[in-house]
């Protein structure tokens, strides 16, 4: 490599066959529809579940206050989960890609830290409120059962709760943390490079 022109000449040799623009636009549209349908699906699933629980209240007319509180808590848990989920979407999709790289990295860091906090806190609150709701809800129905069936029912729900709390929840948190932390440390190292 004698001089600058040489590198430029070598550099310009790389070429790729890329799809034509109409094909690319079609891909963009497909991708956007796919993310949108996921959002709609999550919302629909949780809303339907909430409606179903509401229907139980209406249809079976529970007598005890604990049942009503239980149902309210369960629905609240799901609605708040949905609210946070929907609030996160613009945070993650409004991607600031047109900012300068230094600004982009700074924003990315903030978003990731916020995401980490929201995900963990929300997941914990969701589990606690949902389980509390379920425990309260069951009081009325188990009280009508024989002792053995009542205890068995609570044992099953308690097992479900324990598995969730001590196995699924930490696993899901760990998985999310790992990828987000990796992104954070990358972004930090890039920022350091720029700050030199």
């Amino acid at each position: 490599m004698k001089n600058n022109t040489d590198i430029k000449e070598l550099w310009n040799r790389k070429k790729a066959e890329l799809p034509d623009s109409s094909e690319l636009i079609e891909k963009a549209g497909k991708f956007r529809r796919k993310s949108l349908s996921r959002l709609i699906l999550t919302n629909a699933a949780l809303l339907l579940t909430s409606l179903f629980i509401g229907f139980i209240w209406f249809y079976y007319q529970p007598e005890m206050i604990t049942t009503k509180i239980g149902i309210t808590l369960t629905i609240l848990a799901m609605i708040s989960y949905l609210a946070v989920y929907n609030l996160m979407i613009p945070l993650l999709t409004k991607n600031h890609l047109t900012d300068s790289s230094a600004e982009y990295l700074q924003r990315l860091l903030k978003i990731k830290q916020k995401q980490l906090f929201l995900q963990n806190t929300m997941l914990n609150i969701y589990f606690i409120v949902l389980s509390a709701g379920l425990f309260l809800y069951m009081i009325e129905y188990t009280s009508r059962m024989s002792h053995i069936w009542g205890i068995a029912s609570y044992a099953i729900v308690l097992t479900w709760f324990l598995i969730n709390w001590f196995y699924l929840r930490p696993r899901s948190i760990r998985k999310q943390e790992k990828s987000i932390n990796e992104m954070i440390s990358r972004a930090e190292s890039y920022r350091r490079q720029l700050g030199e």
């Binding site: 040799r13 066959e17 891909k27 890609l97 047109t98 300068s100 230094a102 990828s179």
Partner: protein, 161 residues
Amino acid sequence: MITFEEIYAHYKQKIFRLCMGYVNDHEKAKDITQDTFITVWEKLPDFRNESSHGTWIYRIASNHCLRHIEKDRRMPKGEMPKEIKDTYHPEKDKETDGKTEFLYKCISELPETDRLIISMELEDIKQSEIAGIMGLTESNVRVKIHRIKEKLTQKFTGYEE
């Protein structure tokens, strides 16, 4: 008003080379190039002539490169639409292309932000524009480019001997 088609035709190979300098992997570079132009297509209606098209597109491309690790996880291969077949055959080009491969290899071994800076320099982007794209001062860019070129020259001297 410039159309997406015109932008794409003019910049696609340039952006591909930038991505290639960043990842040195033909398929990944094509993916990032496509992602970049998908963003360009989405954001083009919001584009105000505050900066030149070039600066704007290179910003999007550079940021796409920097977030590459995140995308790797979020969008596993196969989720993106199928690639069209690639007619590039590195093995068919010989000698000089050995050097080209070496150049891209050297660049992709630099620190991430340096890869982007030198790639843009090689695309003849003005240093003041590179500064705007990366969020650095112009003098900082000048110093960095000088150092990177020195490093590359050293590696090439070793390669040619």
